[in-house]
Structure formats: structure tokens, C-alpha cells
Symmetry: C2
Subunit: 191 residues, 2 copies
Amino acid sequence: MGEKAAQPLRADAERSVRAILEAAERVLADEPGASMEQIAAARGVARTTIHRRFASRQALIEALATSAARQLAQAVDDGRPDTAPPLVAMHRITANVLQVKGAWAFALGLPEDPDSEAAVLQQDIGRRCIAVLKRAQDDKLIDEAADLDWVRRTYYALIGESLHGSTEGADPDTLAARIIDTLLHGAGPRG
Amino acid sequence: MGEKAAQPLRADAERSVRAILEAAERVLADEPGASMEQIAAARGVARTTIHRRFASRQALIEALATSAARQLAQAVDDGRPDTAPPLVAMHRITANVLQVKGAWAFALGLPEDPDSEAAVLQQDIGRRCIAVLKRAQDDKLIDEAADLDWVRRTYYALIGESLHGSTEGADPDTLAARIIDTLLHGAGPRG
DNA sequence: AGGAACTGCAACAGATATGTCGCAGCTATC
DNA sequence: GATAGCTGCGACATATCTGTTGCAGTTCCT
């Protein structure tokens, strides 16, 4: 239930919402059960000021999930998954996604209501992901007998794992390269 | 701070503790923020009965993490990581770990205090994991230039991902086989 | 410039979770 | 079979989180 511009917010209101969501992400990322009070403190305002924009804690969380999911979808789109050569698309998408997932780790790790906008977006992303993999398979980059759904899950897992250690250890492109390489070739000896 | 048999619990007390931990895992697995009340209900007793054994919510959570970590360590040991041939050890360990992680998903996904017993056990498991991979590398199963720490993280990620979809879809051995195969060969075309 | 929308907060109210205590009745274990 | 340890629970005390309302001051938009 994302605010579909039902009432186009005034400029300052929109800024306000963004600032609150960013503060919420920051706080919840390292304390998932944090209270509204803590989130408000991170934003530098009183708790009730947040309640003005978000009727309930639940509403805030949902907005957070939706906002993050939109950014993630954008990150995928920016990689031109349907037109760029598969390897290029995979690399670009991976690098983009790493950045978004790094910035919105909590929001994107949230269990989502099956009929929320966030869930719909995630499913769409999943479909586009499979599509790219299919194109890669057609180009003989992926084994023709491979189960693309398992490949996609492996891909997701590698991205998730890349965000754990030394988050700022290397630039997204380096990390992306390693992910794609591991996805396609594994750890075994090179031919 | 696991109870190091400081005072050997009476037989029934030990049973009691186990039952509570199992109920807690069950409830917390699908509602991480569940209250003591809900956990008590799952166990079929009053909330205060749980408080008798676990002074605080925190204490219960820690005990849960420690108990699960011990079982995980046991699962690894059972695979004879130091003596069995690397491939055999990897397969057995993977199958064992899948079972334990499936049963204690919440407890093992808990962020842990660096100096808790659970954390120490996890680190030890990590070391043994690296050791097995090293043996596999010596046997030319893993590329000699591979970064074993990244391989380990990839391995962890694959295990985690295997537990998401259709958890009871296949037996642990089948899942383990796929994990090892993907770890070593990736999704690319087979030679 | 002027009105509508927005920010900000204190004070209040209600709900919920946590933790303590004491008493009554079982059950291992010696 | 006695006794120390255990279970179980109701009642109470407390802390914390959530959500509402009313009022004062500020900022956007036309």
C-alpha cells in the first residue's frame, strides 16, 4: 500500500518522509526491535513527530519496505536486463544491487506480506532475474541442464553473503566480478 | 555463559529446560519478537514458570543460542572433518548441518555477543570448515589460487539458501549433493 | 501576502511485556 | 519414605512502548 500520490505531498513533507525512513533504516539495521523513540532520536525529533506521518509502527515499516523495494527495482532496471549482453547486464545489475542492498539492508530483509507492494516488486525482480539468466543460458554461459531457479537462489545468496564482511572493503565492481565468477565457475580448479 | 554443570540439574529439570527451548525456537522462528507469554503458551505452561528457569528474556535467548551452537558443532564433528576424505566429510557435514540449521533456524540466525559461548563455538566451526576446505584444496578439488575464506562464505550462503524454499522438498543428502556441486563447479557449462 | 499545509512537542491514556513473591502440590534421589 | 529440589500459577509492581490530542510556530505554494 504505497502512497500512490493519492495526495501529492508538499515538497517539505516529502523530504521529511525520506529523512525519517533513512533514520529508521539506520537504527533498525543494528537493532531490529528498536522503538519509535530511538528512531525519532536518530532523526533528531520527538517521537510524536514521526507518528504524525506514520500512523503506526507497522505503517512505518511497510513504507520502509516499499521504498527500498522500489529502489531495488530501479537498480535492476538501470542494468538494462533485457537489452544489454547477459554478462554485462549481470555485472551491472549486481553492482547496483550491492549498493542498494548495502544501504537498505534492514528494509530489504524484512518478511513481507504476500500482497504488499513490496512483495509484488520483489516478485517482479525475481522474474527479471530469471529472464537474464535465461539469456545467459542461451548464450552458453550457463549449463543448458541447469535449474535456473536454483541458479537464481545461488545468486541471491552470494549477494547476501558479499554484504557481510568488510562491507566497504572493496568497490561494488570488484565484488560483483567475484560474485559472477563464483556463480558461473564455482571454487573448483580452472580448466 | 552456558551452564557449565555448575550445579548438575536434576533429571526432570533438564527435560524441562529442553522443552522450553524447543517451544521458544518454534515460536520465535516465525515471530522473532514474540513475548514470553506466547512462548509459555506454546509450551503449555504459565509465563512465570519459564521465568523460574530463565531469569530474563535475554537469558533465555542466550541459552537458546548456546544450545543450538553446541548441536551445530556436534553436527560438524559427526562428519569426521579431520580424517574422512574431503569430499565425504563435506557431504556428511553438509547433510548434518542442514538438519540442525533447519531445526534451529532462529537460534542460529541470532546476532551473537562476541564473547558468548555461542560465538566461540561458531568461530571454532568456522576454523574447522576452513580446515576441510584446505584439505580439499590439497586434493585438487578446489583451485589452488582460491580464497578459502570466500569459499567458506559461499558455502555458508548456499546452506542458508537451501533452507528457504520447499524445506522438506528433498532429503538432506540430495540437497547436500547440490550444494557441494554448485560450490565446486558453479552454474556454467560442464566440460 | 495570505492561507493551507506542515513541523514540533508536551501531556495524557491505554496496552503490553517483564520480572518478583509466596504458597501449594509433585517427584527425583538418597 | 523423607527431604530437597522441582513445577505451576495467581497476584502484584514496574517499565516501556504505542497512539491521541491540542496548541504554537514555521514553511511552502499560489
